[in-house]
């Protein structure tokens, strides 16, 4: 999986590249060792990892805690970004459709929960949170299909431009429509039901034991994080299942050669539409969870550059690979919070990082097996042409 290059290497670029080669070798070695482990071990390791993830807000691991912002809040944000990256990966990484308007789906999901659930919206009937979430997912799926139906006949750059337009349309509607209440936004987004079981005697932030009180409250971010983490894990599991099925193969085939796929019996339009709908649903879900946690959503959260940031997460991490896009999402969302002093330069730094990745590692940090080989080959064919 490494780029082999016979000519001697000197200079900063080559040192960096050599460093990256060694890192890539280590990664592929690790991957091999992991897949060589007995199944029971792998399951055990995975379960342990999941337990650690759930316990993360309460674990005092030195160095990872954010100093200036609430660590649990950051974890929640990271989980939301991972969910977005997993959804966008279906569209960009697997089906190969460049979507630059993903924030649109995020916004549709967030606004759906706000509008149908909040008492401050013009919709008269209020639905509880548990009803709002399926509505949000359904509406974003529908918006994905509505966007995809006319536009998925386009390919490549043309599709990217159209999706960019979609994101802008959603942003303009959010800013100007009376239903969304513009920049003033909608407050009072409902939270999930449920209480702490009465046996929980842990002391909450206000000095009273938690048992019997509402699970989702402004005082405690942990349940929101657990909720988001659960959503992430479920969605990853689902996407994984799809990847290893006829659907995943159809997506890859369309990405590789749409005409050949069609002639081999793949109804490409239908599968592209599915990719769009699934991607949209995950984006909508993440938006809905985001609005739930903030209990507020306004048009200022709908920004074009956020869409670009999402694509950056997927591309930097490694399009087409679940682990890769997770790493990408964590980098994009966690680092600016951990190193707050750089937060103002966030877009500058990610821009530079994107360029660096494009030069040194076009397949992303954790590439999918397939793309890794492809790009290594290309480097072999034209070593100067990077």
């Amino acid at each position: 999986m490494t780029q082999t290059n016979d000519k001697p290497r000197v200079g900063v670029t080559d040192t960096l590249r050599r460093f990256d080669d060694r890192r890539a070798e280590a990664v592929s070695g690790l991957r091999q060792r992991w897949s060589d482990l007995p199944r029971a071990w792998r399951v055990g390791a995975l379960v342990a990892l999941i337990v650690v993830l759930y316990a993360l807000p309460d674990l005092a691991i030195p160095g990872i805690r954010t100093t200036e912002t609430d660590f649990t809040g950051v974890l929640f944000l990271v989980a939301i970004y991972v969910l977005i990256a997993v959804g966008l990966n279906v569209v960009v990484g697997l089906a190969g459709l460049l979507d630059l308007g993903y924030i649109g789906f995020f916004a549709v999901g967030a606004y759906t929960v706000a509008i149908f659930g909040s008492p401050n919206s013009p919709v008269v009937i209020k639905f509880p949170w548990l009803v709002c979430i399926p509505i949000a997912i359904a509406l974003t799926m529908i918006s994905g299909v509505l966007l995809g139906w006319p536009t998925l006949r386009l390919r490549g750059d043309y599709l990217a431009i159209v999706t960019l337009g979609f994101g802008e349309i959603i942003r303009l509607i959010a800013t100007n429509s009376t239903i969304t209440n513009g920049n003033r936004g909608i407050a009072g987004v409902p939270v999930p039901p449920g209480n702490w079981p009465s046996f929980v005697q842990t002391i909450g932030i206000d000095g009273e034991p938690l048992g019997g009180r509402a699970l989702f409250s402004i005082n405690d971010t942990r349940p929101f994080y657990w909720l988001a983490l659960t959503a992430v894990l479920l969605c990853m599991y689902g996407v994984r299942r799809l990847e290893n099925s006829r659907v995943g193969r159809a997506w890859l085939a369309v990405r590789e050669d749409e005409d050949a796929a069609e002639i081999m019996g793949v109804p490409s339009f239908r599968f592209k539409l599915w990719a769009f709908a699934i991607g949209a649903a995950l984006g909508g879900l993440s938006g809905a969870l985001f609005a739930t946690h903030n209990t507020f959503f306004n048009a200022e959260s709908v920004l074009l550059q956020t869409s670009i940031l999402y694509v950056a997460a997927v591309v930097v991490g490694g399009a087409g690979n679940l682990l890769g896009v997770t790493v990408g999402a964590i980098i994009i969302s966690y680092l600016p919070e951990r190193f707050r002093e750089f937060a103002d330069y966030r877009y500058l730094l990610f821009g530079l990082a994107l360029i660096a990745v494009m030069i040194f590692r076009p397949q992303g940090i954790v590439p999918s097996r397939r793309r890794a080989v492809e790009l290594a080959d290309r480097a072999k064919e034209a070593p100067t042409n990077v």
Binding site: P38, R39, A40, G238, R241, L242, S245, R246, V247, G248, R249, A250, L252, A253, E256, D257, D259, A260, A261, E262, I263, M264, G265, V266, P267, S268, W274, I278, R370, R371, V373, E374, D377
Partner: protein, 303 residues
């Protein structure tokens, strides 16, 4: 030159009827009233000089282009106007003149995509696996391990007995077996998990045939399958094409290599400038003055 095979004349019933098909691109007439019939179980050669319209004819048959006029019937059903993947499911499969595999997928996955043409599992089926099919005894998970892992296997086995297996799992299993068998059939063994782009040229060509066969076609269209092959590889290909025909698949073959065409086909259709100029057994076609003229040109004094 090997003696042209005088195999069974075309006695089968018609499989594909190309009826007066014309295809125009603006002022260019790519196909001009082409007319021929393909019979079940035969190997038909489609030959002609460069630019005669052979590949265009393939494209019209597989739904890439829609004929301007005329009609094609496959197995009694109209072909023209259908979607490309529907035509594949009707039973027409093809390979490409310039190889068009899915380069970043493994050899096995390439063939699986072809096999998927006959599958019904879609997003919901793959996600939730609710559509259950009862399993036979030999299909149950075998208990191979001891201890905890063995207990897990036994539990799975019991689950399968009660709930059956999902259609997704059964389709995946069958497809995998089919794909492995097909790769063996065309001679790309032992490289199942190699990316298609890393296979040798000859293997890629054969992989394309395996992928096309995986769609379970009644008619297999090969577009210059021997291009770039050395004589030994051509001989292997010739055997392979016969083997394919012997499994009951009708073959339509575009090929420039006359030796191959004469050696393997039952009948030949000759195109020139989008028009059919001859049709018949290899021997008939070879001696047809019009065909000779098309390939070698007409002497100036004869014109």
């Amino acid at each position: 030159m090997s003696e042209p095979q005088t195999t069974t004349p075309a006695t089968g019933e018609p499989l594909l009827e190309v009826d007066n098909v014309t295809l125009r691109f603006g002022g260019v007439v790519a196909l001009d009233g082409v007319d021929f019939t393909l019979y079940r179980g035969e190997i038909l050669g489609l030959i002609g000089p460069n630019g005669a319209g052979k590949t265009t004819c393939f494209n019209a048959m597989t739904g890439v282009f829609r004929p301007t006029s005329g009609e094609m019937r496959f197995d009694g059903e109209r072909v023209s106007g259908r979607k490309r993947y529907e035509i594949t499911r009707m039973g027409i499969a093809r390979t490409f003149q310039n190889i068009r595999l899915f380069p970043e997928m493994t050899a096995l996955e390439n063939v699986l995509v072809g096999a998927d043409a006959r599958h019904r599992t879609s997003v919901v089926g793959a996600l939730f696996r609710l559509y259950r099919v009862p399993v036979k005894r030999h299909e149950l998970t075998e208990v191979t391990a001891a201890g905890l892992a063995g207990a897990a296997q036994r539990l799975r086995r019991t689950g399968q007995r009660i709930f059956g297996l999902s259609r997704h799992v059964l389709e995946e299993r069958a497809a995998r077996q089919k794909a492995e068998a097909l790769l063996r059939f065309v001679g790309v063994e032992g490289r199942l998990n190699e990316l298609a782009r890393n296979l040798s040229y000859g293997e890629q060509r054969r992989l394309e045939i395996a992928r096309a066969l995986a769609t379970e076609p009644k008619l297999l269209c090969l577009d210059e399958p021997a291009a770039g092959f050395n004589p030994a590889e051509k001989e292997q290909l010739l055997q392979l094409i016969r083997k394919i025909r012997d499994t009951g698949v009708t073959v339509l073959l575009i090929e420039h290599d006359m030796r191959l065409v004469m050696g393997v086909t039952d009948r030949i259709v000759v195109l020139e400038f989008g028009r059919k100029i001859a049709e018949g057994s290899p021997a008939e076609v070879r001696d047809d003055p019009k065909v000779i003229a098309a390939y070698l040109g007409v002497p100036a004094d004869a014109a």
